[in-house]
Amino acid sequence: MIRLLLAVTAGLALGGVASAQNFEPANPECIAPAAPGGGFDLTCRITSQQLNELGIVKPTIRTTNMPGGIGAVAYNNIQARRVDDPNVIIAVSTGSWVNLAQGKFGRFNENDVRWLGAIGADYGVLAVRKDSPYKTLQDFVDALKKDPGSVTIGAGGTVGSQDWMKPALVAKAAGVDPRKMRYLSYEGGGEALAALLGGTIQAVPGDASEVQGQLEAGEIRVLATFSEDRLPGVFANVPTAKEQGYDVQWPIVRGFYAPPKITDEQYAYWVDALKKLNADPKWQKVRTDQGLFEYDMVGADFDAFAKQRTDAFRKLAAEVGLKTTGN
C-alpha cells in the first residue's frame, strides 16, 4: 500500500511538473534483454552512447543486461516491477515479436508495453558458399522442390525463430511444406557461417550485417536479400527475393519499447529523442557502419507497426504449423 502511494505521488509529481519539453529522465537505463555481445546489447550500447554524445539525452544512459528467454524475462520484469518507470527503455527486434506471437513471453502480449520507435533495420539474406551449385534463388527453390531434404539449411535461431521463418516463407511460396525443410540450429550466426564455410550446411538464412564481411571477401554468394528494394553497398548487385518472383520480405527492425504506464509526456520525450537521433547525420553514419539500414519509424506509427507485425506473425506461425497464442 505504501509502495502504491509512493508510486502515485511520484507519478503525480512527475506528471505535474513535467511536460513534453521539460521531462528529463533521472539516471536513465537501457535494458538489453540478452547477454553481452549480441544484437540487443549493441543496440543499447550504441544508441545510448550516441544519444548522450549528440546531446539529445543529457544524463548518461547506462546499459544493463537482462538475459533470459530472448527478451521474455525483461518483458515480464517490466510488467511485474516497473510498469510506470519513465527512466527505462528496452531494446526490441523483429525476433521479439516472433516470440511474442508464439506465446514465448508468458501471459503478456503486444498490447502490454508502449512501443517507442525504430532506430534502424537489418535485412534477412540467403547466403551460400562461393562454390555452391545454387546460383540464384530459383536454383535453391528447385532443389527444395525436388527434395526438401537435400538442402541442409542452418542458422542461429531455433525452428520457429525468424531465421527459420525466412526459408520457410520461401518454401511456402514455392508450394513446399516448410516442416519438411532440413534445418539445423546453431548458437549464433557466427557458428552457422563457420558450418557453411566448412561445408556442413549448404545455405544460411542470416542477416545482411552478419554476412557482409564474408561477402566482401568473396567467400560466399548471396542468393537474395529479403528486402523491398535492393540494399546499398556490397549488396547492390544482389537481387531481392521479390525480383526473383518470391515476394518474401524480412526486415529485422531494431528499436525500443517503454513500460506501459508511463505518462504521455514521458512517452513523447523518448519518441522525440529517437526522432532527433534518426535525423542526425552523425548517427546516420554510425548506423551505416553497424551494418544497419535506415528505418525511420517512431511514435504512433511504430506502435501500430509492432502490433500489426506481431499479429501477422501469429497468423504465419499458425499457417506453418507452430504453436501460437490467441489474443
Binding site: 555481445g37 543486461n65 535461431g157 548458437e187 563457420a194 556442413t200 566482401e216 567467400e219 554510425v286
Partner: protein
C-alpha cells in the same frame, strides 16, 4: 607482407608508451575484477567496455586495453579458483582440482606462480602458432562437422568418468546430473521449453555463474559452518615459493596441454572448458603414477591452466582469420570492434592491418604484462587465506551473490543459487563429485546440439556418427579410455609375469 614483418608492424603500433601503459592498466584492472568470485573475462570486459569509449581511445588502443583486461581477468579468476575453490569461468573449473589442495597445504603462492607461468607458456606458444598459421588452421577448423564434435564430446565424457577413482558410479551419477541440469530451459533446436515448470525465469536455463557459485561458494560455507574444516591455513607464512625443479617437472605437462588447448580452442564453439578438462584428464592418465592428482599435484594444476589459456587465445583464430567469433569472449571483442565501426571479416588483415596485427601484438604483450604484474604479487594474494574463515567465507559469499546479481539482475537467481548450494552440500555429504557434474553441464549443450545436427543431416541414420576417420579415431580413444581401467589389471599381471620370467 609476410607474417614476421606484419607482426613487427603490429608491435610498432602496440609499443608506444601510451599503449603499453594501457595494457598494464588493463591487466591490473582485469585482475582486480576477475578475482571477484563469479566474474569471468566476459563480464569483466563488458563492465569495462564503457571506459574505452569515455576515454575516447582509438580502436587499436582500445583493443590493447581490452586484451589486457581479458588476460588480467583470466588471471584474477585463477586467484579465486585456487585460493577459494570458486572457478569464475568454465575454463577454470579443473584448476580447482589441484590448485585448491595446494593452497590448503600452504603452497598458494607457488600455485599462483605456476598458474601464471603455465598460462604464459600456453598463451605465448599459441600466439606464435596463430601468427604464422591462422588462416590454414581456421580453414581446417570449420571443416569439423557434427559427427566429429559428437565423438569428441563422447571422448571427453569417457575421460571425465575416470576422474573419481574408485567412485565410478558416483562420477557417472554426477555426469548425469550435469546433463540433466543443462536440459532446463528453451531447447536450442526446436525452441520447446523443457523442465521449466512454466517459470519464465527458467526459460534461459541455469546460468553458469549461478551454478558455480551455488556448487562451490554456498556449499563450501555450509561445510565450514558445520565445522568440518577448522581454522585458516596455519603454515602459510613458511609456505615455499615455486622451486625451479618443480617448474621444470611441469614443462612436459605444459607442452602437452598447449597442444590440446590449441587444437580445441580453434574449433568454433568448443572453448576452454573442454580444453582444460581434456588436458587435465589426459595428463592424469599420463603422469598420475603415485596417485597424487587431486591432492595438490603441480602438474595437475599446470595442465588445465596452460590448456585454458592456449584455448582462449586460439579461439581468436576463427575470429581474426574468418571473422567468426569462436567463443563468448571473442564475440564481445567482436562487438567492441563493431562499436568502432570496423567490420570484422576475412579482409580485416588487409583492410585494417593496424587493428589485426596490433591485436596479435597486444596478445604477446598482455601475456608478458601478466607475468610482470602478478609474479611479484602472488605472495600478497596468497595472504588472503590468512583471513579467518568466519570472515573470509561470508565475505566471499556476499561478493559472489553480488556477482550473480550483477550478471543477471534477478532475485530469482539468488534463490536458485542458494537452492543449488544446499543440493551441492548434500552431494558432498554423499561423496558425489561436483566437478564432473559442472563439466558435464558445460558440455551437454555441445553434445546434444551436434547429435541433433548429425542425425538431422543423415535423416536419423546413426552410422553418420561414425562417418569420418577423425570421428572414428575419437570413438576408438573413448572406447580405450573406458576399457583400459577394466582390462589393465589383468594385462598388467600378465606383462609383469612375462617380464619376471624373462628376467629370471
Amino acid at each position: 607482407m609476410d607474417a614476421a614483418s606484419s607482426l613487427a608492424f603490429g608491435f610498432s603500433v602496440a609499443f608506444t608508451p601510451f599503449n603499453l601503459s594501457l595494457a598494464l592498466a588493463g591487466a591490473a584492472l582485469g585482475t582486480a575484477i576477475g578475482a571477484l568470485p563469479g566474474i569471468g573475462p566476459i563480464n569483466a570486459i563488458v563492465l569495462l567496455l564503457p571506459l574505452c569509449f569515455s576515454l575516447k581511445l582509438p580502436p587499436e588502443s582500445a583493443l590493447i586495453l581490452l586484451a589486457g583486461i581479458y588476460y588480467g581477468s583470466g588471471y584474477g579468476g585463477r586467484i579465486s579458483s585456487i585460493l577459494l575453490n570458486i572457478p569464475g569461468d568454465p575454463g577454470l573449473v579443473m584448476t580447482t582440482l589441484d590448485g585448491y589442495p595446494l593452497a590448503r597445504q600452504g603452497r598458494g603462492a607457488a600455485a599462483l606462480a605456476l598458474s601464471g607461468i603455465g598460462s604464459f607458456v600456453g598463451g605465448t606458444l599459441t600466439v606464435l602458432l596463430l601468427t604464422f598459421l591462422a588462416v590454414p588452421i581456421a580453414r581446417l577448423a570449420v571443416a569439423f562437422g557434427p559427427a566429429e564434435y559428437v565423438s569428441l564430446m563422447v571422448l571427453a565424457f569417457a575421460l571425465l568418468s575416470t576422474m573419481g577413482q574408485g567412485r565410478t558410479a558416483k562420477t557417472w551419477a554426477a555426469i548425469c546430473l550435469g546433463l540433466l541440469g543443462a536440459m532446463i530451459g528453451i531447447d536450442g533446436g526446436s525452441g520447446v521449453e523443457r523442465f521449466t515448470f512454466g517459470s519464465l525465469e527458467m526459460l534461459g536455463g541455469i546460468d553458469f555463474t549461478t551454478l558455480t557459485i551455488g556448487l562451490f561458494a554456498v556449499s563450501e560455507i555450509l561445510v565450514v559452518a558445520e565445522g568440518m574444516r577448522s581454522g585458516a591455513v596455519t603454515n602459510l607464512g613458511s609456505g615455499e615459493r615455486l622451486k625451479l625443479s618443480e617448474l621444470v617437472s611441469c614443462l612436459p605437462a605444459m607442452f602437452r596441454a598447449t597442444g590440446i588447448g590449441f587444437f580445441l580452442g580453434v574449433l568454433p564453439g568448443t572453448g576452454a572448458a573442454v580444453a582444460s578438462a581434456l588436458a587435465y584428464t589426459a595428463e592424469k592418465r599420463v603422469s598420475n603414477r603415485n596417485n597424487t592428482f587431486g591432492k595438490g599435484d603441480m602438474r595437475g594444476l599446470a595442465a588445465p591452466e596452460t590448456a585454458d589459456n592456449a584455448a582462449q587465445t586460439a579461439s581468436m583464430v576463427p575470429m581474426l582469420a574468418l571473422g567468426i567469433p569462436g567463443s563468448g569472449t571473442t564475440a564481445v571483442m567482436l562487438g567492441a570492434l563493431l562499436m568502432y565501426s570496423i567490420t570484422p571479416g576475412p579482409l580485416l588483415f588487409t583492410q585494417r592491418p593496424e587493428i589485426a596485427w596490433g591485436l596479435i601484438a597486444s596478445m604477446y604483450i598482455g601475456n608478458v604484462m601478466l607475468l610482470v604484474l602478478n609474479l611479484p604479487l602472488v605472495g600478497l594474494f596468497a595472504r588472503l587465506l590468512l583471513v579467518p574463515n568466519w570472515i573470509l567465507f561470508p565475505g566471499v559469499l556476499g561478493l559472489s551473490f553480488a556477482g550473480v546479481y550483477a550478471a543477471t539482475n534477478s532475485m530469482f537467481e539468488l534463490l536458485l543459487t542458494t537452492g543449488i548450494g544446499i543440493a551441492a552440500y548434500a552431494m558432498r555429504k554423499m561423496g558425489i563429485p561436483l566437478i564432473p557434474m559442472l563439466i558435464a553441464f558445460v558440455l551437454a549443450r555441445l553434445l546434444e546440439d551436434n547429435i541433433r545436427r548429425a542425425l538431422s543431416i543423415s535423416d536419423g541414420d546413426l552410422m553418420a556418427l561414425f562417418s569420418s576417420p577423425v570421428a572414428i579415431l575419437f570413438w576408438l580413444l573413448a572406447a580405450l579410455t573406458l576399457l583400459v581401467p577394466v582390462l589393465a589389471p589383468r594385462f598388467g599381471r600378465r606383462i609383469r609375469a612375462v617380464s619376471d620370467s624373462e628376467g629370471g
